[in-house]
């Protein structure tokens, strides 16, 4: 029972606090500063992050960036975006990925890696805590807390 408690409560909490102190911030969706799109709707983000349609509102192909599976930011982002628990989201992605319809977004380990990739890739889209945003990226969506 203690081992189960460790895996179900303590371990995720430790991951949560050690990955970044910024994860309790409002999450924002970021793109390259040169990206012509000024705003992306929640519905368009669902299409992008659930493998339905990988393009920006202006129709250009998007390179979707995400965190690795199990990362607390990924769980927070996807559950906030879809209103579904992470288990249901992973079940849905299993349908999409293992049927070969779409590949899982390119996964990164850290906020800095996402920031760096978005800042250097014109068609990239990612998400980070609001407090981590730099001048090298542009915010196109902000979650309301």
């Amino acid at each position: 029972m203690r081992l189960k408690q460790f895996f179900s409560i303590i371990l995720p909490w430790l991951l949560f606090v050690t990955c970044s102190a910024n994860t309790t911030d409002t999450l924002v969706v970021i793109v390259h500063p040169g990206n012509l799109n000024q705003h992306i709707s929640q519905h368009q983000l669902v299409d992008l992050y659930m493998g339905k349609y990988a393009a920006f509102p202006d129709g250009t192909l998007a390179k979707v960036l995400d965190y690795e599976q199990g990362h607390p930011l990924r769980t927070l982002f996807l559950t906030s975006l879809t209103g579904r628990p992470i288990g249901q989201i992973n079940a849905y992605w299993s349908q999409v990925k293992f049927s070969g319809k779409a590949s899982f977004p390119q996964a990164y380990q850290s906020i800095d890696a996402i920031l760096e990739e978005v800042a250097s890739t014109p068609d990239a889209i990612g998400y980070v805590p609001a407090s981590a945003v730099t001048e090298d990226v542009k915010v196109v969506y902000r979650f309301v807390q």
Binding site: S8, H43, Q44, V46, D47, K52, Y53, A54, A55, G59, T60, L61, A62, K63, Q69, G70, T75, T82, G83, R84, P85, I86, G87, Q88, N90, A91, Y92, S94, Q95, K97, F98, S99, G100, K101, S103, F104, Q106, A107, D123
Partner: protein, 409 residues
């Protein structure tokens, strides 16, 4: 030729990996499933390619599987994907082990093309029926999914995706061929080749709804060896002894026969309530598989980490039963039994009530239990294996219970 093509793609894919291993993504899935049943005559299985089944006192693990998928992102527009699935089979061939091996090219956000061995986009869950974590059922409804063993397509497909304000429309056309085994009693196995497969699939997806329809036409590419022997024997019988002989010969000559599949389906899941249903109609030039109607409807709810589903599934066909020869002899009776075993293989009339429970233990691990209550108005059935079956020993009603642990990684 076809398997060589798939192996060539696999080899090409493997060589590419060694060049840029850094772009490689490896994912997998595993299902550990045990099924028990109280039937003494109908061996419960969930697809007609499974060689093992559960009877009273004889549990089956045939629904267990483990798989690995490799994705290589060659560029922002080109991906190579390969998937292998290990599960219990009658025969183990490299061709069967390779579930998918294809190149996917995204020309624009709207247009996507795939070439190689892809999933067969026939029914809603056909492409991921081996991945237990991906769906809420303990197993896809038997009456609907068991009859088609084919899961992949060697060929090409083109998908056009069009976003609307609150939904995404997808149009897909595909062409190719497919092989899959049918396994039945007395070690019967037939590697069924479907050639000249052409299909169109339309779907609309909103946040909570999925609506889809599919129409696929194909032609049988081979005739089973036993069917060939029966055909040879039937050729020797005069018409005045067996008046329906010619019609039987036409039916048993499967090669070249047309098969049409039409299906519509809908799923609603708002993260609280679930409704899912599909209807299918299979039609062909052969009496062996003709006018098969199948469907299921499920309703349920997500309650915390639990998902409950109540499902009714049914299948019925109206195959004509041949009256047989006008004379009786040991040879003619044996031939008649052999013939109707094949022509009545898909003579199906049954329904099942199912209660399914799923609990997500973690975000990637789920346990599922499903209780099925089946009423079979005709046995033998293509869905099952059989033993000790006779008119006096016939399980019209039986139950089965499946317990599975489902993992993705």
């Amino acid at each position: 030729m076809r398997s060589k093509f798939v192996m060539f793609l696999s080899l090409l894919w493997s060589l590419s990996l060694s060049v840029q291993a850094g772009e490689l993504k490896v994912d997998g899935f595993a299902t550990l499933d045990i099924n028990i049943s109280n039937s003494q005559t109908a061996g419960i299985r969930h697809v007609i390619s499974q060689p093992d089944a559960s009877y009273l006192g004889e549990p089956s693990f045939a629904n267990s599987s483990i798989g690995l998928q490799l994705d290589w992102q060659s560029s922002s527009q080109l991906q190579l994907v390969a998937q292998t699935v290990l599960k219990e089979r009658k025969e183990y061939k490299l061709d069967y082990l390779i579930q998918m091996a294809f190149a996917r090219y995204t020309l624009t956000p709207n247009w996507q093309f795939r070439i190689g061995r892809t999933g067969l986009d026939l029914y809603m869950m056909t492409e991921y029926r081996d991945i237990g974590f991906a769906f809420n059922y303990g197993h896809p409804p038997t009456e609907f999914y068991a009859v088609v063993p084919h899961q992949n397509l060697d060929g090409i497909d083109a998908t056009y995706t069009y976003p609307l304000e609150q939904s995404v429309l997808t149009y897909k056309v595909f062409a190719g061929r497919s092989n899959a085994p049918i396994v039945s009693d007395d070690d019967f196995i037939w590697d069924v080749e479907l050639e000249s497969i052409y299909g169109i699939s339309l779907s609309m997806q909103t946040q909570n709804w999925l609506l889809r329809s599919n129409y696929t036409i194909t032609r049988a590419g081979n005739t089973n060896e036993q069917q060939g022997q029966l055909l040879s024997a039937l050729q020797l019988i005069p018409d005045n002894i067996w008046p329906t002989r010619q019609a039987l010969i036409n039916s048993l000559q499967i090669k070249g026969k047309r098969f049409n599949y039409f299906t519509v389906g809908a799923m609603y899941d708002d993260s609280q309530w679930i409704i899912q249903s599909e209807l299918a109609f299979i039609d062909s030039d052969s009496e062996v598989l003709n006018h098969l109607k199948a469907g299921y409807v499920s309703a349920g709810a997500h309650i915390g980490e639990d998902t409950w589903l109540l499902t009714l599934s049914a299948a019925t066909s109206n195959n004509r039963v041949d009256p047989g020869p006008l004379l009786s002899s040991a040879q003619l009776d044996a031939l008649y039994q052999g013939v109707i075993r094949h022509t009545n293989f898909y003579l199906i009339d049954q329904q099942t009530w199912s209660l399914s429970w799923r609990r997500d233990l973690t975000s990637t691990l789920a346990v599922k239990i499903q209780l099925d209550h089946t009423q079979a108005d005709h046995l033998p059935s293509a869905f099952y294996l059989h033993k000790d079956l006779s008119s006096s020993n016939y399980d019209k009603y039986f139950q089965s219970l499946g317990l599975s642990l489902n993992w993705v990684f």
